[in-house]
């Protein structure tokens, strides 16, 4: 139980650091002076002190939607696979629950964008709906396929099974599922081939367009939600697709887990520096590749057993 609580607190604390780490690594790779690692915390503290202004046109949705964006993600954090051997975990949560919780959070984010009735919010919400409608089937397929390989539909149990006896004979379908999930990680968190998190140009932005009207505490909550979402995806990725290090004693296992999270962050940063942002109407192609790989992983598993 103590490890369960520790894991959740650790992930919450790591969430802003990971995003700032990606940002500073990108700046380093572009020969700029990198931002400090604790920039996420600084921004959070700054936003908490600022005055919260809500547009006159908004309904009551704007006042409670930020909390409803964050809370499904916080609930999801309780369902993640364990990172220490013998830690407590929730075993009955399957692919549909995780995907559903994440899309519930996305739903309220879209409502928030529509609520202020500004043009940008509408653009952002429609684009987000477009992307997340394509992400969800691929995500259900991928997580389902991995949990079939692990021999248990529950995600927590699947993570434990994968770490204990890794399915070497299903390596091919495992790899396909891994590729698919990495594309989803990039797409769902609005990283560069799909959405540029740094720009405020109306042609390109998706996530930023929805939250353009927010300020103060609400903005701080939404930014926390974005970082928590990234940490959820990264931790699902490392515990389902890089299932090593669970057998060591607790401090070493936690250190290995953190190292793996930073490894994912490095991969995302290198991908962001090396690719151009896709046109919005080319995003379905990328997500189509992800769906192909997810489906491929399932059929390779069922038909060939490889």
């Amino acid at each position: 139980m103590i490890f369960y609580i520790t894991t959740i607190i650790l992930l919450l604390l790591l969430a802003p650091i990971l995003l700032s780490f990606i940002k500073s690594l990108k700046m380093l790779l572009l020969f700029k002076r990198p931002a400090p690692l604790l920039q996420g915390y600084k921004n959070f503290a700054k936003l908490m002190q600022k005055e919260t202004i809500v547009s006159q046109e908004t309904s009551s949705i704007t006042t409670y939607a930020p909390f409803l964006v964050l809370s499904p993600l916080l609930v999801t954090m309780f369902f993640l696979p364990p990172i220490v051997h013998g830690a407590f975990y929730v075993s009955f949560v399957d692919a549909f629950t995780i995907t559903g919780l994440i899309s519930l959070s996305t739903f309220f984010l879209m409502l928030l964008g529509l609520d202020s009735a500004s043009a940008f919010g509408g653009i952002g919400s429609s684009r987000e709906a477009f992307i997340s409608a394509l992400v969800e089937p691929a995500m259900v397929l991928t997580v389902f396929s991995v949990s079939m390989m692990a021999g248990d539909l529950g995600i927590g149990q699947a993570g434990v099974n994968l770490a204990e006896h890794f399915p070497k004979e299903h390596m091919a379908s495992f790899l396909f599922a891994g590729i698919s999930f990495f594309i989803l990680l990039v797409a769902e968190n609005g990283r560069i081939p799909v959405d540029n998190p740094e720009t405020h140009l109306e042609l390109t932005m998706v996530h930023e367009a929805m939250i353009l009207d927010l300020s103060g505490v609400y903005l701080a909550i939404i930014e926390t939600a974005a970082s928590v979402k990234f940490v959820i995806f990264a931790s699902l990725f490392v515990s389902l697709f890089i299932p090593v290090g669970l057998e060591y004693s607790a401090p070493i296992a936690i250190l290995i887990f953190i190292a793996k999270l930073f490894g994912v962050a490095i991969a995302v940063a290198i991908l962001e520096v090396n690719t151009a942002k896709l046109r919005l109407f080319k995003v379905p192609n990328l997500l189509g590749i992800s769906i192909v790989f997810a489906f491929l992983s399932l059929i390779t598993f069922y038909v060939l057993g490889a």
Binding site: K168, A172, P284, G288, V292, F293, V303, G305, A306
Partner: protein, 198 residues
């Protein structure tokens, strides 16, 4: 471990199908050949066949490094169009590729019992044969068609190393010489293409 590389082989071929840039396509082809060479090395170590080790090294040197390099330098020399749009729309390709895979996986099922070990790999190599055929079909330009031809050769080679317990080395060297001849022919084709462009 062999499963992992066979997965990478198929994955790089599928990614090549969605590529719209020539140099990126060559990179994927090179990666595809690299996984093939590593596979040959792994299987060669497993069945203790020195000839297969030599072919593995030759595959890495020739197909993963030399051929993509030459193709790239040819296309630079003859100023090729580097944007290669597939004729088949990606929406249809998304449906088509899994359909091909399911079809070939079931197609290969009756013959898999004839092969004692690695029976899955036959299905994957036949499906990659079909996928490289698709790569040849979906492009109009010469360069991606040639890449499709080369990756078709790759999947035949995969069939050779996985279905049999080591092909005779003479056959594989013959295939390599064939490939070199093919590259010479490709050079001629490129010249024709250049004359058409001019």
């Amino acid at each position: 471990m062999v499963d992992f590389f066979i997965g990478l082989f198929l994955a790089s071929l599928i990614t090549a199908l969605f590529t719209t840039r020539l140099y990126r396509l060559l990179v994927w082809y090179s990666f595809n050949s690299l996984t093939l060479g590593v596979l040959a090395l792994l299987i060669g170590i497993k069945i203790d066949d020195n000839a297969m080790l030599i072919t593995g090294i030759a595959t890495i040197v020739i197909k993963a490094i030399a051929i993509p390099y030459f193709l790239k330098s040819f296309s630079q020399k003859f100023h090729f169009i580097r944007q290669i749009q597939p004729n088949i729309k990606i929406q249809y390709a998304i449906i088509l590729i899994p359909a091909i895979l399911v079809f070939t996986f079931y197609l290969a099922k009756p013959i898999t019992h004839m092969i004692a070990n690695n029976s899955n790999y036959v299905a994957i190599s036949i499906s990659s044969l079909f996928l490289s055929l698709l790569l040849m079909m979906e492009h109009k330009n010469v360069a991606p068609k040639i890449t499709g031809f080369l990756s078709m050769e790759n999947s035949l080679f995969l069939l050779g190393i996985t279905a049999t317990n080591g092909m005779p080395m003479l056959v594989e060297l013959g295939i390599f010489f064939d490939l070199l001849m093919a590259i010479v022919v490709i050079n001629l084709l490129f010249r024709r293409e250049e004359m058409k462009n001019a």
